[in-house]
């Protein structure tokens, strides 16, 4: 992939589509970052949950990476097998939620051998829909949805404004970060943290933080590809 630092000015796309190799790279980035963030996520989770979020995310995505690292099928196929691997490795709440998200991503890609740069940001709304459908969490419940939902809306409205794909991803990342930060002011009403009531205030939801890591990885992949 082309190296070099992205500048702030308009970037001329170096590529116009992402194929299997790039999707595998995406999972490699995610897996590495989840490993690196494992302890931090565990600590966040320990305050309001059972401290397993970091290891679940890390174990889940390293299982995904192991399974797809040699894949050469189209992106849709890679996302589908990622969904099954993640679910099988993780279970818990995170397993079904991200499995549904990855299956939606697969649906978005269809049988096409590549996903175009123009369509790439739509992965974010696809993830968000998959998670909403399975998890039924509402905005303000202090869950990963509080990062995914604003990110998805940011992509859609940036598209409406006619912004380029990387700007759409940047908008998504900003919205996700802000959404994750806003969970500090929320009282958990779903999942294990719900029993804490007001004691969950002031703590950032670990699921929202790991959502930011995923969105950031997608953003960075595109930024690298376009650099």
């Amino acid at each position: 992939m082309a190296g070099g630092l992205a500048t702030d000015g308009r970037m001329e796309p170096a590529i116009d589509a992402l194929g299997p190799a790039q999707i595998i790279t995406l999972f490699r980035i995610i897996s590495e970052r989840m490993m690196a963030a494992r302890d931090e996520l565990g600590m966040l989770d320990g305050v309001i949950g059972d401290a397993d979020h970091g290891s679940s995310m890390a174990a889940g995505f390293s299982a995904v990476l192991r399974a797809v690292s040699q894949a050469d099928g189209p992106p849709g196929e890679i996302f589908t097998s990622a969904a099954h691997e993640f679910l099988g490795a993780v279970g818990a709440t995170t397993g079904p939620l991200y499995a549904s998200a990855l299956l939606r991503a697969a649906k978005l890609c269809g049988d096409s051998p590549q996903i175009t740069v123009a369509d790439f940001p739509l992965l974010i709304p696809a993830f968000a829909e998959g998670i909403t459908e399975r998890g039924k969490a509402r905005p303000g419940d202090k869950t990963m949805m509080d990062a995914w939902a604003p990110a998805a809306r940011a992509v859609l409205s940036a598209r409406e404004r006619g912004e380029d794909p990387l700007s759409q991803m940047r908008a998504a990342l900003e919205a996700a970060r802000e959404g994750a930060a806003s969970t500090r002011a929320m009282v958990a009403s779903r999942g294990r943290a719900a029993r804490l009531g007001e004691r969950s205030l002031g703590h950032t939801d670990p699921g929202a933080v790991s959502a930011v890591i995923l969105i950031e990885a997608m953003h960075d992949l595109l930024a690298r590809g376009l650099a």
Binding site: D39, G42, G46, V47, I48, G49, D50, A51, D52, S55, S56, A59, L87, G88, A89, V90, G91, A92, T93, T94, G95, P96, L97, R134, G135, P139, G140, A149, P150, R153, E178, G179, A181, S182, R184, A185, M186, V187, R190, G191, R192, A193, A194, R195, L196, G197, E198, R199, L201, G202
Partner: protein, 688 residues
Amino acid sequence: MAPRVAGKPAIRAESGVMPLRYGDDPLLWAAWLYYEEGMTQSDIAQEMGLSRASVNAYLQDARTRGIVSIEIEQDRFRSLSIARALKDHFGLQDCLVIPSDGGERSLIERLGAAGAQVLTRFARPGDTIAVTWGRTMLALAEALDHPGLADVRIVQATGGTTGKIPWTPEACASRMAEALGARCVPLSAPAIVSSAAVREVLLAESVLTEQLGVLAEADRIILGISSLRPESTIHTSGFLDGQTQHTWYQDAVGCLIGRFISSRGAPVIGPLNERTIGLDLEALKKIPQRIAVAGGIDKVAAILAALRGGYVNVLVTDTSTGRGILTAEGYSDTSLRPPGDRQAVPLRPIGARTRIKKLINAPQDAVDESLKGALAAHERLIESLEGSPRVVVARGRREVAKVGIVIGGGSGHDPGFWGYVGQGLADAAVVGNIFAAPPPGPIMEATKAVSAGAGVLYLYGNFSGDVMNFDMAAEMAESAGIEVRSVVTTDDIASSPAESRAARRGVAGNVFIFKIAGAAAARLLPLAEVEALTRRANARTYTMGLALEPSSLPETRRPSFELGPDDMEIGVGVHGEPGILRQPLASADQSADLLLDRILAEMRPEPGDRVAVLVNSLGSTPAMELYIILRRIRQRLKAHQIEVHLSLVGPYYTSLDMAGVSLTLMHLDKDLTALLDHPCAAPALVVT
């Protein structure tokens, strides 16, 4: 000089000569005379032979040096320090924080009364005061009684809403006007009209123009803040339906004057904006004094957003909400505690262990290696399913059309879940990673293995992960033609209030509920009946736990939460989730009473009723302590004339190495007693 009471000096010393009892500390002398004898500073000056200014300086000094310490009652101190922090942090004109708990009157009533007090303080003759609507505003109006200010006008900040609620804008404004002896200026239009065009037409009406003119002259506004949670004022007022919120207002976390704001306080503009009649956010900011009265934990995000947006410059709230707002902004709780409370914060001594010792190999192998050991230890009773190492099935299952019972959940609860697989109990158990639900794949494998044509019952604790994965497996089973019913256990009474029993978690009570389900299936009852009996068992089973020390995961080897050296955590979750309340460590009897009282209050047994009791170790608490607890429970039950049919004591359903205990009572009836007595042979439970 008049004679003094005993203990006080009978004869005054000569002026300026210090009595011996003060040593040679003039500060102590001055402080004693001032605080204990209640003398004035000039009398003290005379007595000590000093100037009044020196006495004043001595008294100040006595406080700085700690000779005198002034104690403020903890609750009040908390309110004051939170109010001050809110005022400083958000640059408010003023802030009033009332205690969150206040006896009989509801929080809304008390906030209303506090708001009324604040308004009384600020209102001046000739004022124009704008008013919004909602429960808190109406409570404020009802608590207000301050007639006699001349020429005050109360003006509605928005048009009217549905009349289905008592706290409409009209009602709030007119009640408030009455209480102040003020003139009431309504806005003669609905707050939300059907289209922007209608709004234009109405705004051209001279009556409304004139009323809006009064609103534009407001010196103050008193406003409520609504969250966007489903039960909030903004929904009950008919402002927002679910669809509109879903389409347009997902970024909104709060609503004031009928306008929506994001978590940063930015306006969220949607279709209602063009259709709303009343003050807008820009105009709101131009009103010199903006008093918000709002409280309740669900409103933290909304109030914080209003503060961040600068829409409010006087805030009236309660301590929990205020603390919530501050912690959400990154304030640490300790800075808000009274000084005497500070040492209660656990300080880790330098060099203290932070890594818990464990006998494991690679952490990621712990679950599978442990399960292999359990299978070996109980090889005559259980085995794992070929190709699915985390599915445990009973050996020697008979070929009869019996309902299959599949239990399961995360690992780390040993002997849960494999210990409850065997003849007369569950047919299969499926476990996941530590404290994480198993995925649907292996649940489906277990389902196929135990399905004998009479259907399968899934039985597991109510955790969102377990529900999702078992539901996915149930969908797979249905399409494979296997009839599946699910019973989700909800025995943990600390995890949610009695009104929302369905939201409660399933914990150690599982042991009894598994037993009932297993016995019902062993009697070859049909699926519907097995399900009904299992549900009955769940409804009559009550558990509550407390922790002395947190558990630690093999992966992190760190305590999963912090517990002070002298604290215990009440209502702790079975995954090391923190509980609902932390209190100083109590004795075994006090702890047993605390758990039992909560359980009996819900169970409401009659004298002569029968129960089964489980005193369960959460992992590290030894049998010795469990039996002390059981002894107390039995004494208490005897005093209540409740018969104990069965007592189980031991580590039946653990949370790794958590220290602590849970108490479970199952309220027996004839059927449940018979099923409890039905023979079973499983690794962790044998009934002969």
